[in-house]
């Protein structure tokens, strides 16, 4: 690790600056992911459950125990074990799930589309409502809509998401009956649509199964809007503060003096300048929803990654838990780096 950075440093003079920056970013990504793996590795080592017994069960003989102990590589030094772990993960091997008996990667590939569908719809909801709300709150500062934006944010930052989910179920499913209950699909519609992407709304639409689509939609709408509410709170708050910054700057005053309409000043000038910052915020909100869906999925019996991790956790199936943590952690890192790069390439001020 140290050697490579030194090597980059020495040869740096012959590299163009963009390449140097890209290499530095790649080194950051590598270090972060290595750090993530180190943490998950250590978690796997400090846990009180004997990993050998977890594989072979309580009644195995001592010989079987020793055999598995060696097979799992537990007799090797810790650093060697870590190296094996890292190479395994990089080859896409997250081990086997004790609970389902399948490869963790297979399991995750099966459950992940459900989470992705939920988080995407939630983010969409947050962006469509949050951005205009934030912009209007900044333009009409101190008005009732600004107060509303503030109120929405405060509630979003203070309400336990799992509780809001329960209350939502109680009101919209239990009392009003507007939406379907927990789960992803009504019982009569299960197994009709052959998965393409694994996302039910898209699959059913592609195959033209509109009854399935309707059922899927009435199931997803409540959890997605609840998740969306949380990203709405975040996105509108950030949009508002970015816009306030722009609206107070001199070019906006110049634009107003020139006699441009309010619409042009706000959307044509001020909003144009916050687009990049906004994309960063939206990317982060998306990453947060992927994680935030854990508790929501429990409430709504949504068969996604969050529920997979928690069920595995309660069954002491550590490979699945750590595998899920690595997947979500890697997506987190990727989104962070992506928004960082976006910033660098599109914002002329950072050049």
């Amino acid at each position: 690790m140290a050697d490579t950075t030194h090597g980059e440093g020495r040869r740096a003079s012959s590299f163009p600056p963009w390449l140097k920056k890209t290499l530095a970013t790649l080194a950051t990504v590598a270090a972060t992911i290595l750090g993530l793996l180190f943490v998950t590795f250590m978690i796997g080592r400090v846990m009180p459950i004997d990993p050998v017994l977890a594989v072979i069960g309580e009644r195995a003989t001592q010989a079987q125990y020793n055999q598995t102990f060696r097979d799992l590589g537990l007799d090797k030094p810790l650093l060697t074990q870590f190296w094996i772990y890292v190479t395994d993960v990089l080859r896409g091997d997250l081990g086997e799930s004790i609970r389902t008996g399948q490869k963790v990667t297979t399991d995750i590939a099966r459950v992940f589309p459900a989470t992705l569908e939920l988080a995407t719809l939630g983010t969409l909801f947050g962006v469509v409502l949050g951005v205009p709300l934030g912009v209007i709150a900044a333009v009409r500062r101190g008005s009732w809509i600004d107060q509303l934006a503030r109120f929405v944010g405060l509630i979003g930052y203070s309400m336990p998401i799992f509780w809001l989910g329960l209350v939502g179920l109680l009101i919209f499913y239990g009392i009003l009956g507007w939406v379907a209950g927990p789960g992803r699909l009504g019982i009569f519609y299960q197994g009709i649509v052959e998965p393409i992407t694994g996302m039910l709304l898209i699959d059913s639409a592609l195959r033209g199964e509109w009854a399935v689509f309707r059922s899927a939609f009435s199931h997803i709408i409540l959890p997605a809007s609840l998740l969306g509410y949380y990203s709405l709170a975040y996105i509108s708050r950030m949009t508002r503060s970015f816009m306030l910054e722009q609206l107070g700057s001199e070019y906006v005053i110049t634009a107003r003096v020139k006699g441009l309409s309010e619409w042009q000043v706000v959307w044509g000038h001020a909003f144009r300048n916050i687009r990049i910052q906004l994309i960063t915020v939206i990317a982060l909100a998306y990453a947060n929803l992927l994680e935030g869906s854990v508790l929501t999925e429990i409430i709504f019996a949504w068969p996604g990654l969050g529920q997979y991790i928690t069920t595995s956790l309660l069954a002491n199936d550590m490979n699945s838990v750590l595998g899920g943590t690595i997947v979500i952690g890697t997506i987190f890192v990727a989104i962070n780096i992506f928004s960082d790069l976006l910033y660098r390439f599109f914002d002329p001020r950072s050049k």
Partner: protein, 304 residues
Amino acid sequence: MSASQGLREWLLAEEPTSRRQARWASWYKGWLTLRSNTLAMLGLFVLAFLILAAIFAPLLATHDPFAQDLGQRLLAPGENGHLFGTDSLGRDIYSRLLYGARISIYIVALVVMVAPVVGLIVGTVSGYAGGWIDVVLMRVTDIFLAFPRLILALAFVAALGAGIENAVLAISLTAWPPYARIARAETLTIRNSDFIHAIKLQGAGPFRIVTRHIWPLCISSLVIRVTLDMAGIILTAAGLGFLGLGAQPPSPEWGAMISEGRKYILDYWWVATIPGIAIFAISLAFNLLGDGMRDVLDPKEDHS
């Protein structure tokens, strides 16, 4: 009356005559600004109320929070002298809420004693030392910052075993990086100021400079951040409790109470709903107070 008048004048004197007077005066002026913020005062009031409720829980409780009475199970609020009704084991929800406030405050206090302190040490050392120490510490901070917090806390608790202390440890492990960032930024702005150079010329070593002169100046921004983070900490702790990874039954932790009431939500709404309102109240109170304190202690930024 005249004594308090005198105190007020002493606090608001134009030219403080001693260091102590100046310090008290700045606190008092901050308090006056905070007091004019209605929402922040509301938050403070709710928090004070909750802390008092937690302290005097044995006096205020109408029932034993652990006493089960299956004949009295799932009573609606107000029935048979149970203010908020009873849960599925016939335990009084009102009394459990009071005792649950103790757990929430305990968790918050523990996290506050760990995470900001770790962040303060890492951030100031990193900012003051500079060089490779700074690079290494900030890289580690970035790595932790890039982690999904709830998932990591889940994995930690899974490894360490369920329980309040482990939940606190897991939350702290994922909560310190932002504090380190803030403390480092503050240190970088302070490090090259004249008064630090003056102290250095007087012969103060790095340890003394960091602990006696840099830490006190980092406190105010950390306090704001901690207050604003408090809601997130409470929500994460409640989430862990809800998943069965925090406080264990029969402990009246609010998240665990919601989890217990979840099965009955459609028929007996109060069992899960009422603890949620308590969590919401305490988080909202911290957020309101944090917003108000930011306006007082950090007037540079305009957040109105």
